[in-house]
Subunit: 338 residues, 2 copies
């Protein structure tokens, strides 16, 4: 039996091949540039292509590990794994337009390279391809299971659009509550992680109770992932995240630490309420926030969510090297630095 | 048995109720504005709401008529009919952003009212809702049929994104050939019409040969629809189309009559090649094009496609008042003025 590390490596290679096979199908005349935009965004083509440009592929990896850890054949779950990665990338392509982000993973975004119209349309293409891809489960499974899987993915997309709606709406608000923030990240981040773990266990034909625990595991993991993303958005090492370290403070995004900082009503809150943060203030403000205990509180929340994820994972009764890989991946989540 | 007119009226009412039921499900806190944007775009809410704002609902009507004309129960086809109308509206929402169109059916577009980020996201929501809606066929049909229907809709969305890709790409080209234009409208317009007729006959459990003829009927009807749209984009009555009559000449869109005009190499082509058309030139240029026989040639192509559609419809062996409604709708297509 493989060690967890070898298994993860094998899954990553098989997944990347599956993703490429799907996108390569669209490399036909007269759609060369259509293909090129997708392959560029996926990290395979153009300047800066390579491991750093592909992203972490964390969501499909969780899906495949959940299938393997519940005794299923992960190879048969590849279409679902590819589908969730395409959904994630569709949402990145559109989010980058909505946020006017010109860089992603250290490279110009699709819209920055080819314009907003092609960017919107390329996102629509990835969205469509994701749902077409999950239908390929029909090669291995009954129409009934394929329909269930397709519906889980669609419900997740609905939650993504609802979370994104709130995120955009919050931009014009002076402050938001922690509860409002939580509703937003449930849709924007946790829903897709939950769907990955759910789909993985559904494909392995787990009983409904275990499927439920897998789903809750994914959800808690997704929430922890987002909280750490928020932490890195203020205190992350610029060199390792591919965009300006402090962009969250500059953009005025109301992330978890910012909301805590506003609640603590100290020097940070006083400055924030005076208007747009300037680049030269960013380091001082991050330091003030840290001195007010906000970095530690953010880290503690991520750790709490990680513990919750581990408890749900344990209740889901995973087994084998995939189970080990899932729990070490979860433990690493709250310590990640990129 | 109903007359064709009574049947069409009944179908329209049932369809509108189905569309509303789907969207109303999203009218929940804290997503009130998310709901409002969708209901506004569908023509039910806000300034100018009403029959003129909803659009013609021609695609779902074709779907329902094809079900009824092949002996199926159109009521069971309502989820598919609602789904194709949502797909159409998703594409309008994104196209309006891509084309920077501030008005649609005489009203401000979603992005013009609520900004580009909410506009993109509302389009994504309609896209997701369309695919969730077609899954509701599962109430009446086997998982196998639902999967087939869902895949037809997804393949159509893929063609839409390919057609839209070409349309955007052509904007930066000086001229395009008739063949390039045809490939573009196959994806951008004909694919969804073809899917409507195909889905309608699939749901009625037609044999594959008849399904094929229904599909080809829809495709030819869609092409005719687009050619007439192009004609109305230059010679239509401003009062009846809800946007500036001559916007196609002003925007530099390479539509069917423009391509014919460039090929005929007369006064129109000479002027067009000198650069952007100004509003005060529009009437003269439209007249020149007409004098060069381009309006008549465009009308003739629409008539040819309409005849082709009627031949395919006949081969599909439709029956009853729905068959009569389909053929009269087809005959009206090439004569429509809005």
């Amino acid at each position: 039996m493989d060690t967890p590390d070898v298994l993860v490596h094998t899954l990553r290679e098989a997944l990347e091949a599956e993703l490429r096979r799907e996108i390569n199908a669209y490399h036909v005349a007269p759609y060369e540039l259509y293909y090129e935009m997708l392959a560029y965004h996926m990290g395979w083509m153009g300047e800066g292509a390579g491991a750093k440009a592909t992203g972490k592929r964390i969501r499909p990896l969780i899906l495949l590990l959940c299938t393997a850890a519940s005794g299923g054949d992960w190879q048969k779950a590849l279409p679902a794994a590819a589908a969730v990665e395409f959904v994630h990338n569709f949402s990145l392509v559109h989010d980058d337009i909505e946020d006017r982000s010109e860089y992603r993973r250290g490279r110009p975004t699709i819209w920055a390279k080819w314009g907003i119209p092609q960017g919107i349309n390329a996102g629509d293409a990835l969205f469509t391809i994701s749902h077409l891809t999950i239908h390929r489960l029909a090669e291995f499974f009954s129409p009934d299971l394929v329909l269930q899987a397709a519906q889980i993915l669609l419900q997740t997309c609905l939650q993504l659009t609802q979370g994104q709606f709130l995120d955009i709406s919050y931009e014009s608000r002076a402050e938001i509550s922690l509860e409002e923030y939580q509703v937003m990240i449930e849709g924007k981040t946790a829903a897709l992680f939950a769907a990955c773990a759910h789909l993985g266990s559904l494909i392995a034909n787990c009983d409904p109770v275990r499927q439920h625990h897998f789903r809750e595991f994914g959800r808690a993991l997704g929430l922890a992932f987002q909280i750490i993303d928020d932490l890195l958005g203020i205190w992350g090492d610029e060199a390792t995240i591919g965009k300006s370290t402090s962009s969250d403070l500059l953009s005025g995004k109301k992330t978890y630490p910012v909301i805590l900082g506003l609640q603590s009503n100290g020097a940070f809150a006083k400055r924030w309420r005076k208007g747009k943060i300037q680049p030269e203030e960013v380091l001082t403000l991050a330091q003030e926030l840290e001195e007010e205990g906000i970095r530690a509180a953010t880290q503690a929340e991520a750790t709490r969510l990680t513990q919750l994820a581990l408890a749900e994972l344990s209740a889901a009764q995973p087994s084998g090297p995939a189970a080990e890989a899932l729990s070490s991946l979860t433990r690493q989540m709250s310590q990640r630095v990129q």
